[in-house]
């Protein structure tokens, strides 16, 4: 998403505007047209300004947190191969409970 324009730690001129453009483009690709919302209307349930501000805040928190999740990508991938869930944490138990 930073497109190689700058390293994460270096200042990014116009980052907010770039992020807004990315958000609008991403939504447009999904067929969602934010231009139907008013640009800025405090009395409306939502407006474009608030949607973009919240989306920027969301992107600033959630993807970085997901990147920092503590497991190795080289481990088993249970989701794609449900018949093989990786090592049984308690192979001796079988059908019985604790």
């Amino acid at each position: 998403m930073n497109g190689g324009a700058a390293s994460p730690s270096a200042p990014w001129p116009d980052r907010e505007a770039d992020l807004d453009r990315w958000i609008l483009l991403r939504l447009e690709m999904a067929g969602v047209e934010l231009s139907l919302l008013p640009e800025e209307a405090p009395e409306a349930p939502v407006d474009r300004r608030r949607v973009l501000a919240a989306a920027r805040a969301f992107l600033g928190r959630t993807p970085p947190a997901l990147r920092s999740l503590p497991f190795a990508e080289s481990g088993p991938v249970p989701l794609l191969y449900p018949a093989s869930l990786g090592p049984d944490p308690d192979p001796g138990r079988g059908e019985a409970g604790p």
């Binding site: 958000i23 991403r26 939504l27 999904a30 067929g31 969602v32 047209e33 934010l34 139907l36 919302l37 349930p45 939502v46 608030r50 949607v51 919240a54 989306a55 969301f58 992107l59 928190r61 959630t62 993807p63 970085p64 947190a65 997901l66 990147r67 920092s68 999740l69 503590p70 497991f71 991938v77 249970p78 989701l79 449900p82 869930l85 049984d88 944490p89 308690d90 138990r93 079988g94 059908e95 019985a96 409970g97 604790p98």
Partner: protein
């Protein structure tokens, strides 16, 4: 009457195959098309309620006399007294409808109430009972959250998208409850599309707490707000809710109720407007654990329309779990139960009393440690991966016009911004957390007491809210509750603990302060669309049959006639206090991201 001196069979959570639950949990994100083709058909296992072997008389043994006022009867007491002929189902229902008319103009618990249809159904149920038909919930009026499809009764999820939607079929849960003789008293208000406390689509607060009906600033909890308020205010004895992020347990805690989020897949989601494939759980709310068990007994079980319900152990006898047990002449738990106390559980006087009482009932209290990386794996950011699941099924309406979502729009937008690899990473993290919880915490204890629904919501583990006390505030008493989280299929044990606690305490019987309607109060119900209808400049939404693949193809929605308030049978007018009304708050869209689902 003997009180079960013999030990009942071990509960399912002591016998479950942990690998099976892990495999079910891993498959869950792949089952993004849970229901396809044709109206929900009852399968061989879902044709009739899973009956309990327990007699209600035995379950209710030792309770105080419920008294002559049906509004104070529990669901179990109502079913028993109707069966005995104390009142007919229609007589019980007329009391419910009268209380809705008198009080719901202030409480705002209900949306649609079809008085003619439900009275006809009550008469039919009465004839069936007199003919000897065994109906476990015969004549019990229930509040149904407005995201459960109900045949012929508008189902809106408090959203402009569904404002005109009148389904042609019942959700599977509703079908089962009706088959058990329950009456759909009405559809209850909720957070729009199951976010937040109940509001209009623009975010204007509607449903009040039964503990502060004149103060909209007191949070009644959500999103199953209307159901909780209807029960707490004694409009009905029990009802249904759904939980994705606290939406059954939070309103239960806020209003002194008992509410259960079952194990994922224990109850069918077929015919429930979705919020999150891997997190949505239908469940019962009531005033006590016996009623929760009674409803769950009917609601639970496999449903071919919902593959999430496959592969689970058979439905156990939940009513047996709440039957009274004594040892050495004192109430006791039916099974040896280890209860974990998490380090972050606040040490208040009410909670100390709760734990010491559980210990006196036979529980072993165990201080436990949190699994590694708990803070990261239970963070709000990881929780956000659920937003992808809500965005996808609602794409037709997002594409049609995002304004249709009103103040609830933001999380749907966010769900479109996460990438596929981020979503998968989140699912792997959930799986890792579940593995650590099962291998660690639930190898040491059977239940945990905790202060939030995380991570039980995101992992599909059962969670129960029960009242444990009350605090005095300048504005009046407010309930205090506790959350108990269980292992997979731990509903029996959760209910058994709650039942034993409720046999030696009275918090579940504590009603909100009495109040009377004023002359200027409108009659109920007051549906949200009478106050905040879809703006005329918005397009008519795409019909749900085309939009939501989770719902079976249904007949085209019928635009219902305008809702006319029922004639008021209110008591003679009383003098107004002259107090100006408290301004109704509006929940800003940014807070939709933070509040319960």
């Amino acid at each position: 009457m003997s009180l079960r001196p013999e030990s009942p069979p071990p509960p399912q959570d002591a016998r479950f195959d942990r690998r099976r639950f892990l495999s079910l949990a891993a498959l869950l994100p792949l089952s993004s098309i849970p229901a396809r083709g044709g109206a929900p058909e009852p399968g061989p296992d879902s044709g009739s309620p899973h009956r309990s072997g327990m007699e209600l008389e035995r379950i209710l043994a030792g309770r105080p006399d419920p008294g002559p006022d049906p509004s104070s009867w529990s669901a179990a007491e109502t079913a028993l007294l109707v069966r005995r002929g104390a009142l007919s189902p229609e007589e019980v229902l007329l009391g419910t409808l009268d209380r809705i008319r008198r009080l719901d103009g202030v409480l705002r618990a209900f949306n649609a109430v079809d008085e003619g249809a439900v009275r006809a159904e009550a008469r039919r149920i009465g004839r069936a009972i007199r003919a000897g038909e065994q109906l476990p919930l015969g004549g019990v009026p229930l509040a149904i959250k407005d995201n459960f499809l109900t045949l012929g009764l508008r189902t809106t999820a408090n959203s402009w998208i569904f404002q005109d939607f009148v389904p042609g079929a019942d959700a599977e849960v509703v079908r089962r409850l009706r088959a058990a003789g329950a009456l759909v008293a009405g559809k209850t208000q909720m957070g729009p599309l199951a976010t937040t406390r109940a509001t209009t689509p623009s975010g204007r607060v509607t449903t009040r707490s039964a503990w502060a009906p004149r103060d909209p600033g007191v949070n009644p909890g959500g999103s199953s707000t209307g159901t909780a308020t209807a029960i707490a205010a004694r409009l009905v004895p029990a009802g249904t809710g759904t939980q994705t992020g606290g939406s059954i347990t939070q309103p239960a805690l806020a209003q002194g109720l008992t509410g259960l989020k079952p194990t994922m897949g224990r109850v069918s989601l077929s015919g429930v407007i979705p919020l999150s494939w891997t997190r949505d759980h239908p469940g019962p709310l009531a005033r006590d654990s016996v009623d929760v068990a009674l409803l769950l007994q009917t609601m639970a079980g496999p449903d071919p329309s919902d593959p999430r319900t496959s592969g689970h152990p058979p439905v156990p006898d939940f009513l047996q779990a709440v039957a009274p047990v004594e040892r050495r002449g004192r109430p006791a738990l039916p099974w040896k139960t280890r209860i974990g106390v998490l380090p972050d559980w606040p040490d208040t006087p009410e909670r100390k009393t709760f734990l010491s009482t559980l210990a006196s009932l036979g529980a072993e209290l165990v201080e436990v440690e949190l699994p590694p990386d708990w803070a990261i794996l239970t963070s709000p950011e990881l929780n956000n991966v659920r937003l992808v699941e809500r965005a996808e099924p609602f794409l037709p309406w997002l594409r049609q016009d995002p304004r249709l979502f009103g103040s609830a729009l933001l999380p749907w937008i966010h769900g479109l911004l996460l990438s596929g690899d981020e979503f998968l990473r989140g699912q792997r993290a959930k799986h890792l957390l579940l593995e650590r919880l099962l291998a660690g915490l639930f190898s040491q204890v059977d239940l945990v007491v905790q202060s939030t629904p995380i991570p039980f919501d995101l992992l599909g583990l059962p969670l129960l809210a029960i009242p444990i006390g009350s605090e005095a505030t300048p504005a009046g008493p407010r309930p205090i509750g506790a959350l108990l989280g269980g292992a997979p299929w731990g509903e029996e044990r959760l209910l058994a603990v709650a039942s034993a606690w409720q046999r030696v305490t009275e918090w579940h019987r504590t009603a909100p302060p009495l109040w009377e309607p004023l002359p200027e109060d409108p009659p109920g119900p007051l549906p949200w669309w009478t106050e905040d209808p879809r703006p005329p400049e918005l397009p008519r939404p795409t019909e749900p049959t085309a939009g939501l693949s989770l719902l079976a193809p249904l007949p085209a929605p019928v635009v219902p006639p305008p809702v006319e308030p029922a004639p008021s049978d209110a008591p003679p007018p009383r003098h107004s206090t002259g107090t100006p009304p408290i301004p109704v708050p509006r929940i800003p869209p940014e807070l939709v991201l933070e509040l319960g689902e």
